[in-house]
């Protein structure tokens, strides 16, 4: 009796095992066989935190349209994204600032930048009783962050904002303590408009700030500015819009004071010619309506995909994201790409290949 029971148990376990094996065989991800369109493909990406809400929306929408393609994105920061894509642990990377040549060293192939959307950095402040937007010129803004302009009622700020009751308080500067693309864009702008900033501080995701306190993340800067009277800080546009924070109007290259908005950001992008390498700085852009502190954010992909199926799925996703995906951008406070840039991206995506065969056909 005992023997029979044991044999039956063994048989049951074996049957279970066999069933499992059959299931897993039919759902295995694509190998290097030619794509059939119905094979399950799983892509992974990592990088910048700034565009994460938009990428997250894109990936879920794309999955609804193409249920066999699953894309996973980890927002670990631009630096991490670059490191992972160079090391080959993810299929694509994401970065706010373009890669520096030394960062691309060690990559097993050529990495391309594909612009996906445009973001902006706004200057926010905490001044009791001041409800209207402050107007600031590049000189005054860099003076504040350099520590040269120390008080709110300084004549330089007062002359730009007549009629605004500026208190005799010290300006408490707040910057990002963590390395971030937001800092990279903001310091890029300050370096472009202030030679003093360019020589003493420079541009980067982390810099040595002349004055101020550091707070972690957009949330940290917002929290600190909100709770410290007389403070000024810089945050992402999406953040300021959603939290209804006061923002400064910055004088742009054409001399006009522009409030930050998606239209102003798109105007900035339209005012700068996109070079063939598909990455460019658009701070201090020309044009009357351009907001001066804006930047593209990029996805980093290999020109030559190792795995044809994955490469094709990624190329198709990028095509969708830069065309149909753009309509999701404004609702999430990101500016859509200008049509001229999309055309250039199309031409570049058509050069993506795996081995000798081009990935996108029939587009």
């Amino acid at each position: 009796m005992l023997l029979v029971r044991r044999l039956l148990l063994l048989l049951a376990v074996f049957a279970l095992f066999a069933c499992n094996k059959k299931e897993s065989a039919s759902t295995s991800a694509g190998g290097s066989e030619p794509s059939s369109g119905t094979k399950d493909v799983s892509l992974t990406g990592a990088g910048a935190t700034f565009p994460y809400p938009l990428y997250s929306k894109w990936m879920s929408e794309y999955n609804k349209l193409n249920p066999n393609v699953k894309i996973n994105y980890q927002s670990i920061g631009s630096g991490g994204g670059i490191r992972q894509v160079v090391a080959g642990t993810v299929d694509f990377g994401a970065s706010d600032a373009p890669m520096k040549p030394e960062e691309a060293k060690g990559a097993p192939g050529k990495l391309l930048h594909i612009p996906t959307t445009i973001g902006a950095v706004v200057v926010t402040y905490n001044l009791e009783g001041v409800t209207q937007n402050l107007k600031l010129t590049p000189g005054v803004l860099s003076g504040i962050f350099l520590g040269e302009i120390k008080k709110w009622n300084d004549a330089k700020i007062g002359s730009l904002n007549p009629g605004v009751n500026l208190p005799a308080k010290d300006i408490a500067v707040v910057y990002r303590s963590d390395g971030s693309g937001t800092t990279a864009v903001f310091t890029d702008y300050l370096a472009a408009v202030s030679p003093a900033w360019k020589t003493t501080v420079g541009t980067g995701k982390s810099v040595k700030w002349p004055v101020g306190l550091g707070a972690k993340g957009n949330e940290g800067v917002t929290g600190q500015v909100k709770s410290t009277p007389g403070s000024i800080g810089y945050i992402e546009l999406a953040y300021a819009t959603q939290n209804k924070l006061p923002t400064a109007e910055i004088q742009n290259n054409a001399g006009k004071f522009v409030a930050p908005s998606l239209e102003a950001v798109s105007a900035a992008a339209a005012g700068v010619e996109m070079p063939p390498e598909l990455h460019v700085s658009i701070v201090n852009a020309g044009g009357d309506a351009a907001y001066p502190i804006a930047s593209y954010t990029y996805l980093l992909v290999y020109e030559d995909a190792k795995d044809r199926t994955k490469g094709e799925a990624l190329a198709k996703f990028l095509w969708w994201a830069t065309h149909d995906g753009q309509k999701f951008a404004s609702a999430l406070d990101y500016a859509p790409l200008p049509p001229t840039v999309v055309q250039k991206i199309e031409a570049r995506l058509k050069t993506l290949k795996s081995g000798s065969k081009v990935l996108l056909t029939g587009m």
């Binding site: 670990i76 920061g77 631009s78 630096g79 991490g80 670059i82 490191r83 520096k100 030394e102 960062e103 010290d170 408490a172 303590s177 963590d178 390395g179 971030s180 501080v201 420079g202 541009t203 980067g204 995701k205 982390s206 810099v207 040595k208 700030w209 101020g212 306190l213 550091g214 707070a215 972690k216 940290g220 929290g223 600190q224 709770s227 410290t228």
Partner: protein
């Protein structure tokens, strides 16, 4: 027949293989080996961590050498790195935390072990331990929204008015800075120090207390002359454990300390700790030298923490070995 200190569970002393077969002893043999392996694993882990940290920071060790510890410049754009501002921030915030927390937690420990009625002890004891259970991010949030504004509006102006002649209390005050960091750390290490101190005080033999009381000492005199001297090394061990916790604290302190790599004499000034700079800048650091410099700061922190913990363990262990009435 000799009696072994180690109870002979195997019958013969010949090779390990023969011991395998000893009937009924395989379990014990395995038990001893596996638990020894677990203990060894911890040591191997620490060694591996130290080794990996050294390898990761080799570029920075080569580039800056000893000057890394004395340089005050932390410039990621120019790729010049120095750890002194972080060492200063870490040490000063931890010392400030100790200064605030030690009297309070030793007081709590003495009260709970010597003076409190059993009912009070049963309630207060767990409540103090509860402080240790609060996540450090919560402390940080409390610091940002409650402590810093309060310091900025009420405490720091008062301190500046009363003690403004001292460089410690000069300069602009934002609420965020070394003082806020020290206070938050003090609250976080309070339960650590007080619970270890309570254990140490409980280990003091009752006979010492009874002897002192019999000689006519008051409660305070008993504690001062009989209990504390005996427990002193253990209390110092508890303090050092608290210090170890303060040195490594990251999240709470980075939210209130101001994150500015500058050395200033004032307690109101913002500062930066070793743990905070690693947490803040590591994910976005792409240059090799930058990463190596951050790894070297991690190595410095690791070394300091390990050394302090070893010293603490030795001190706390001594109290168990002291003959009764022994002093340090």
């Amino acid at each position: 027949m000799t009696v072994n200190a180690e109870v002979p569970l195997v019958r013969s002393e010949s090779g390990w293989f023969s011991r395998l077969g000893a009937a009924g002893n395989l379990g014990d043999w395995l038990f001893r080996r596996i638990t020894a392996l677990n203990a060894l694993l911890v040591i191997v882990l620490i060694g591996a961590m130290a080794y990996e940290m050294t390898v990761a920071s080799s570029l920075s060790l080569k580039e800056f050498g000893f000057g890394f510890i004395t340089s005050t410049v932390w410039d990621p754009v120019r790729q010049i790195f120095g750890a002194l501002p972080f060492i200063y921030g870490t040490v000063v915030s931890s010392l400030l935390a100790l200064l605030i927390a030690v009297p309070i937690s030793i007081g709590i420990a003495i009260y709970l072990s010597e003076l409190a009625p059993a009912a009070v002890r049963a309630v207060l004891g767990p409540l103090v331990e509860l402080l240790a259970a609060v996540p450090s991010v919560v402390y940080g949030l409390w610091g940002v929204f409650a402590l810093a504004p309060w310091l900025r509006e009420s405490v720091e102006p008062l301190l500046q008015a009363a003690f403004g002649f001292l460089p410690l209390f000069q300069g602009p005050h934002q609420g965020f800075g070394l003082l806020a960091g020290g206070i938050v750390l003090a609250i976080m290490i309070l339960p650590t120090i007080s619970s270890v101190a309570r254990e140490v005080l409980r280990a003091v033999p009752m006979s010492l207390r009874e002897g002192a009381l019999a000689l006519g000492a008051t409660r305070w005199e008993t504690v001062r002359t009989a209990v504390l001297p005996y427990a002193l090394s253990g209390l110092i061990g508890a303090i050092i454990l608290g210090l170890g916790r303060a040195l490594g604290e990251t999240m709470a302190i980075t939210m209130v300390i101001g994150n500015r790599a500058e050395i200033s004499a004032s307690l109101f000034a913002p500062s930066y700790t070793m743990a905070s700079v690693i947490a803040n800048e590591f994910t976005e650091a792409t240059e090799e030298l930058y990463l190596a410099a951050l790894a070297e700061i991690g190595l410095l922190l690791f070394v300091v923490t390990v050394v302090l913990n070893v010293v603490a363990r030795l001190l706390v262990w001594r109290v168990g070995r002291m003959p009764s009435g022994g002093r340090l």
